[in-house]
């Protein structure tokens, strides 16, 4: 019944700048986009992220030099030939920066995907089946959450030799408890709703109920949480690589490019070696956080705006 109620078209008022849009008839995605657009910082962040992501994706095309090749003087200051200077062994910093962004985004996105899949599956099972499964999964979640996150990642990196794919797997396998808890909570609420009860009474197959009914209804919070996991895993990758336990040279990552700044000469005399990668991390992570915040607002079903 509720769906059939026709909303009267809002009478044009002079409140809006342009023509008043027909809000009642817009689709869900349109609503989300309209709400998202109101967050100016998030829109700016989206553009920044698109530009940086595009540059990272096209690194092989637009990078002026090979990132691992020694082509200039040692620690050369920025000049016309090398826009951001050269590093301690004469590699072009700009080219390395482009490739590093690529690696850092790759680590962040892959780790987020892995942890999301693990978290969603465990959360669904715990929330829907309850009982022993719920008890066991939630206690396991508590255990993993009890270990300080960075410490666990550092120890894992020490046990399984650091490297690109190991870092992705480690971050992915450590990051899931938050998502599992979130999904479980949502499923617990959804299970009590009438449309799920209706499905159960109608004898729909379990697979259908879990993946076609429950999951789509928890996508929004997962998406929002996913952005914060993405931001966190990029920060963690940077921290690990900075400490020398993450992505290993010669592969450039934003974190290990900062590694050199632990030496006093680099820190004091060669700021072009450590400022750009650091600022780039801040810019990327902040953009992702702003987008996540706007998404949270835009996807909120209780929002009336």
């Amino acid at each position: 019944m509720a769906k059939n109620i026709k909303y009267e078209k809002a009478a044009p008022t002079d409140r809006g700048k342009g023509a008043v849009k027909d809000i009642a008839n817009e689709s869900y995605l349109q609503t989300v986009f309209r709400r998202f657009r109101r967050h100016h910082l998030a829109m700016v962040s989206l553009i920044i992220l698109a530009v940086l992501g595009g540059a990272a994706l096209l690194a092989p095309v637009i990078a002026p030099y090979d990132p691992d090749e020694i082509i200039g003087t040692f620690s050369g200051a920025p000049c016309k030939e090398f826009l951001l200077g050269t590093d301690q062994i004469g590699r072009d910093v700009l080219s390395r920066l482009l490739y590093a962004t690529r690696i850092s985004l790759l680590v962040g996105i892959m780790a987020t995907l892995i942890s999301t899949v693990i978290g969603v599956v465990l959360g669904l099972v715990a929330g829907y089946f309850g009982g022993v499964a719920d008890m066991a999964i939630m206690r396991f979640t508590d255990m993993v959450m009890s270990f300080p996150y960075i410490l666990l990642v550092l120890v894992a990196a020490a046990v399984f030799k650091p490297g690109l794919w190991n870092i992705i797997l480690i971050l992915g396998f450590v990051d899931w408890p938050g998502i599992a808890r979130l999904v479980r909570g949502n499923v617990l609420n959804l299970r009590e709703t009438n449309f799920i009860k209706g499905n159960i009474v109608a004898g729909m197959p379990l697979r259908h109920i879990l993946f076609s009914e429950i999951l789509p209804n928890t996508v929004a919070p997962i998406l929002v949480y996913g952005t914060s996991v993405l931001a966190l895993s990029m920060l963690d990758e940077a921290a690990l690589s900075f400490l020398g336990q993450g992505v290993q040279p010669p592969t450039a990552s934003l974190g290990n490019m900062l590694n050199g700044a632990q030496s006093l000469t680099v820190l004091t005399k060669q700021p072009w070696l450590w400022l750009p990668p650091g600022l780039l991390i801040v810019l990327l992570v902040m953009s992702i956080n702003f987008i996540g915040d706007a998404l949270r607002d835009a996807l909120d079903p209780n929002s009336r705006r």
Binding site: R139, M143, F147, I150, A156, L235, A239, F242, I281, M286
Partner: protein, 315 residues
């Protein structure tokens, strides 16, 4: 209430046991300690003798229980590097870390609570946007990068603050000296915590401001000051308790990196050097200790939460 507390403690026990199992499993995955003892001059017979002496010839689960039994007696094993008992190493490094963590927690709350409340009261005003933007910056800037920036500004350019250690070498130290060394690490740790805390407290206060009892308070005409400070603030204490509980694991993790950058002689620095020299007994001791501390912190938070908020469901 007592029933709830007992139940909560009973739930914590299997988690605690699980933590020791995970801890032990990681130690086993890291490889046998015999490999590290082994050298070119050590004969096979000597290694076997050592294995029997260490109890490594027994099955996995027996070893676990032996290890657990030792743990109950406060014996966490010996460092492979320095041959010191792990528990002794930890207790000697604990003080500086607790000092750093405690001060950072207090400073971050001193920043986050007023900022979060201000931001909620002035929602969608310029001040609110400024605070929220700052809080996003705080949680987006990697701690080590902020440390480098601070060292660059305050040590290299201005020469005001020392960049490493806890006291100036060769001096007695003293209170003022320690404070001087602490400024930068505390700023870094507090900033990263304040970032997320501000937003958490802001949204909690926003929620409280919409409650009926606040409307009543406002309607009584007792004035804005009393409404906020007497009615809203007291209820905002509940989320603040949660914030403190959430920060404990973050603090532990943050300390590892920050202590490394500032050479702060605490648990984090010890752990990093243990990690780079693969000194597993030490690493595991620290992991176990921190996991137990976090577990206890969560337990206390939950119980405090139940005590502070009378509406919470206790089943």
């Amino acid at each position: 209430m007592t029933k709830y507390i007992i139940k909560r403690i009973l739930i914590a026990i299997p988690v605690l046991i699980g933590i020791t199992i995970i801890d032990y499993a990681i130690m086993c995955m890291a490889g046998s300690p015999l490999e590290m003892l082994q050298g070119p001059r050590v004969s096979q017979a000597a290694v076997e003798a050592k294995a029997i002496a260490l109890g490594l010839d027994k099955p996995f689960y027996v070893q676990y229980f032996v290890w657990l039994g030792q743990l109950f007696h406060g014996n966490m094993g010996y460092s492979i590097k320095s041959y010191q008992p792990v528990s002794e190493m930890i207790s000697s490094h604990l003080g500086p870390t607790l000092l750093l963590m405690g001060v950072s927690l207090v400073v971050s709350l001193l920043m986050a609570i007023p900022a979060g409340i201000y931001s909620a009261i002035h929602q969608y005003e310029k001040g609110d946007y400024a605070v929220v933007t700052f809080s996003f910056l705080g949680s987006s800037i990697p701690g080590f990068f902020l440390s480098l920036l601070l060292i660059y500004i305050f040590t290299v350019k201005l020469g005001w603050l020392p960049s490493s250690g806890m006291t100036t070498l060769g001096t007695e130290g003293g209170f003022a000296d320690v404070v001087k060394h602490m400024v930068m690490p505390v700023i870094v740790l507090a900033t990263s915590m304040a970032g997320s805390n501000i937003r958490y407290i802001r949204s909690a206060v926003l929620e409280i401001l919409q409650q009926d009892y606040l409307r009543t308070a406002r309607a009584k005409g007792i004035g804005r000051f009393l409404v906020i400070n007497k009615h809203a603030l007291r209820n905002a204490l509940v989320p603040i308790v949660t914030v403190i509980g959430m920060e404990i694991p973050v603090l532990f993790g943050g300390a590892v990196i920050i202590e490394q950058v500032f050479s702060w002689p605490g648990l984090g620095l010890m752990t990093m050097s243990a990690i780079s020299s693969r000194d597993y007994p030490v690493i595991m001791g620290v992991c176990l200790l921190s996991a137990v501390v976090v577990l206890i912190a969560n337990l206390v938070t939950d119980i405090l939460y139940a005590l502070v908020d009378p509406t919470i469901q206790l089943d």
